[in-house]
């Protein structure tokens, strides 16, 4: 059901996703991957989008970038507003102008995101030459600056090196340099450290946090790692079965989650600083997106589930501190933790 949309107020958000619905039409049926996702992002802040595989966190980002494979993907309804303009109504030409220059993205697997047969310097400089219209010499100079910015040692010497000559962490830096080339206002980082070792992960997360601060970018951090989120994010949106089921300030959410799924996730991670006995688990499995359960999609796995959860889709409940939870018993879950 489409919700009525009012024009963006002048003090609108930098980026706003409103009631987005995306489905994948495959031979086996229709998978409802995004079912009414809304979130917003303001200049200079870090929003973490957390979810497990299949929760729709990456698809939302791909919809923002306009890089969904259509078909099979199909945006059924919704709006993605950047500086007040709905990106979904723009033509391909106009979207290209925004992609990279205004909103840029980095991916999980840097090795497959980079072209193996071109030197990294050439790849970082490509958008400078093609989009910013810089001469080869200027592009080269700027490329070295970018590589310095992402702290690649001996940048000028490494311009001619190929992706395979870099380590995993360095490749991720190359990709960040590419994303920063056109000075975007929003950077979407899709699992930027998942493939990296912990010590390198810490380096890359530090780099992203510093860059965000120094360049005044807004950052969307897509991840499944609750530890990474706790380290850098301001706000967090938790996704499950294509919905945002909880949205809150990071500290408030970790202190007292207000959705049973978030609560279950937090309790199921073994913690380095707390050695417990048996881990508590979330029973069952995430739903098949072709057959999402009626009512609340989490009800088959939920310890709080009652009849109303099967009958009615819970709407976002706004809790006192400005946070929302899509649970019929949000207050009860929240108070459980605080007790």
């Amino acid at each position: 059901m489409p919700t009525p949309v009012s024009p963006t107020p002048p003090d609108g958000h930098l980026l706003e996703v409103r009631d987005l619905h995306v489905e994948f039409r495959t031979g086996e049926g229709v998978a409802r991957v995004i079912n009414g996702v809304s979130y917003h992002l303001d200049a200079g802040e870090t929003l973490a989008v957390l979810g497990e595989s299949g929760s729709g966190k990456s698809v939302t980002a791909q919809a923002i970038m306009g890089i969904l494979d259509t078909p099979p993907a199909h945006v059924r309804s919704g709006e993605i507003r950047y500086q007040g303009r709905d990106l979904l109504t723009l033509g391909e030409e106009e979207r290209r102008r925004i992609r990279g220059a205004e909103i840029a993205m980095i991916f999980q697997d840097a090795l497959s995101a980079l072209n193996p047969v071109f030197p990294v310097g050439w790849q970082i400089g490509e958008s400078l030459r093609q989009r910013a219209g810089l001469s080869r010499a200027d592009a080269r100079r700027r490329t070295v600056e970018l590589m310095d910015l992402v702290r690649i040692p001996a940048a000028a010497k490494r311009l001619g090196d190929y992706p395979h000559q870099f380590s995993g962490g360095m490749r991720q830096r190359v990709m960040i340099a590419m994303a920063l080339a056109l000075d975007p206002k929003v950077l979407i980082a899709d699992e930027p450290t998942t493939a990296l070792d912990v010590t390198v992960q810490a380096q890359i997360m530090d780099l992203l946090a510093d860059l965000r601060r120094d360049l005044g970018m807004a950052l969307i951090l897509i991840t499944h790692d609750l530890g990474v989120v706790a380290g850098v994010a301001d706000r967090i949106a938790v996704m499950y079965a294509g919905r945002i089921i909880e949205h809150a300030d990071v500290r408030a959410l970790y202190r007292a989650p207000a959705h049973p799924y978030t609560k279950g996730l937090l309790e199921s991670i073994p913690r380095l600083d707390v050695r417990g006995q048996a881990l508590s688990t979330i029973r069952g499995l995430p739903p098949n997106l072709m057959r999402i359960p009626p009512g609340c999609p989490f009800h088959p796995r939920c310890p709080y589930a009652r009849q109303v959860c099967v009958d009615e889709v819970p709407h976002d409940l706004v809790l006192g501190d400005g946070r929302t939870s899509a649970c019929h018993f949000a207050q009860e879950v929240h108070d459980d933790r605080a007790r």
Binding site: E52, S53, S167, G168, G169, M170, D197, V198, T199, V200, Q201, A202, Q203, M205, D206, H224, D225, L226, G227, V228, V229, A230, G231, A233, V250, R251, Y254, R255, G264, L265, L266, S268, I269, P270, R271, L272, D273, R275, G276, A278, L279, S280, T281, I282, L285, P286
Partner: protein
């Protein structure tokens, strides 16, 4: 806790002993006349003991040799040198029937539940295959029944015995892999990153299963992982590897509370803690640079190129993994000391 009690199986005795294990992979040059120009020192002198009923964690970053170590212990690779004994019998000298008997006692759970199960075999055939190789483990008539029991033990529906791997989720597939490893009632199971391909909510289910099975069958685990929080949760003792060596080994408490090796300290401090309040309290030790190539490890201490404590002696003298004055557990650092701020 029920350890199936045959008097010979004493909890705490050494079941697997590894002594100076080395595996070098040759780097060759030339097509027709291959000659070895160098070697990747994947495992370069590793010694430890695994006791009955315990879980020994092996942690380290990619390329530190932890998976090669697992493959050596399973005899999927031939060691360059070194010895290992399983219940007193030489693991690497065994061949033929003797090797089959040894292998029956040590099984493996692989990292990727998507590629470690044959997509064209049913679950029943996968879990029952060990009985085809070791016919004496279960009489022919009872195999079907044994497979169903095994599926039940790992929390799968025994009715699903005729399904194929693709009909299961990642967590369920890992349970199939565990059932297969349990089939021959081994004493030791080598788990190579058994939960790193799984989502958080599923990961906890599999970890709990592994712990429950350990209690039930008195298993000993070698638990290889890069996730230090998971390792702390499940392991009794932990070995930290760096560039083919164990740089520090001790009980869970010794490693997590009183680590004396700078690499262990850096590794622990870099683990993201799921608590935003800790953001400002924690000191993260920032290591510079990357792990050097195992084909060309640094002289002396292998960690010295990234170590903030490195002095001249570190480039000259290779520190041994021995008990240190700072704390009695073995640590391979000339300047071993306990830090309190990590």
């Amino acid at each position: 806790m029920t350890v199936p009690a045959s008097p010979a199986k004493v909890r705490g005795e050494t079941i697997l002993g590894v002594d100076e294990l080395v595996k070098h992979f040759p780097i060759t040059q030339g097509v027709l006349f291959k000659r070895q120009i160098d070697a990747v020192r994947a495992v370069d002198g590793v010694s430890f003991e695994l006791r009955r009923g315990e879980t020994l964690g092996v942690v380290g970053e990619s390329g530190c040799g932890k998976s090669t170590l697992a493959r050596l212990l399973m005899r999927l690779e031939t060691p360059t040198s070194g010895r290992a004994t399983l219940e007193g019998r030489d693991l690497f000298a065994a061949s033929g029937g003797e090797l089959r008997r040894l292998r029956r006692n040590m099984q493996m759970v692989m990292q990727d539940p998507y590629t470690s199960l044959n997509p064209r075999m049913t679950v029943g055939d996968i879990v029952g295959e060990p009985f085809a190789i070791h016919p004496d483990a279960a009489p022919k008539g009872s195999r079907r029944q044994r497979v169903r029991e095994l599926l039940d033990v790992v929390g799968l529906n025994p009715e699903h015995v005729n399904r194929y791997p693709h009909q299961f989720s990642g967590g369920q597939r890992q349970r199939i892999g565990i059932a297969r490893a349990l089939a021959l009632r081994p004493d030791v199971i080598v788990c190579d990153e058994p939960v790193s391909a799984l989502d958080v909510s599923i990961q906890a289910q599999v970890i709990n299963l592994l712990e429950q099975l350990q209690d039930e069958f008195g298993l000993s685990y070698i638990f290889i992982a890069h996730d230090l929080s998971v390792v702390r949760h499940i392991c009794d003792r932990v070995a930290v590897m760096y560039l083919g060596r164990i740089v520090e080994i001790g009980t869970e408490e010794e490693i997590y509370q009183r680590a004396t090796h700078p690499y262990t300290q850096a590794l622990l401090s870099a683990v993201p803690v799921p608590d935003p309040e800790a953001r400002d309290r924690r000191t993260v030790i920032r290591l510079t640079g990357d792990v050097p190539s195992p084909a060309d490890p640094p002289s002396g201490c292998r960690f010295r190129t990234r170590c903030w404590k490195a002095e001249e002696v570190c480039a000259v003298q290779d520190p041994q993994t021995v008990p240190r004055a700072a704390d009695p557990h073995p640590s391979a650092c000339h300047f071993a000391e306990v830090r309190t701020d990590v």
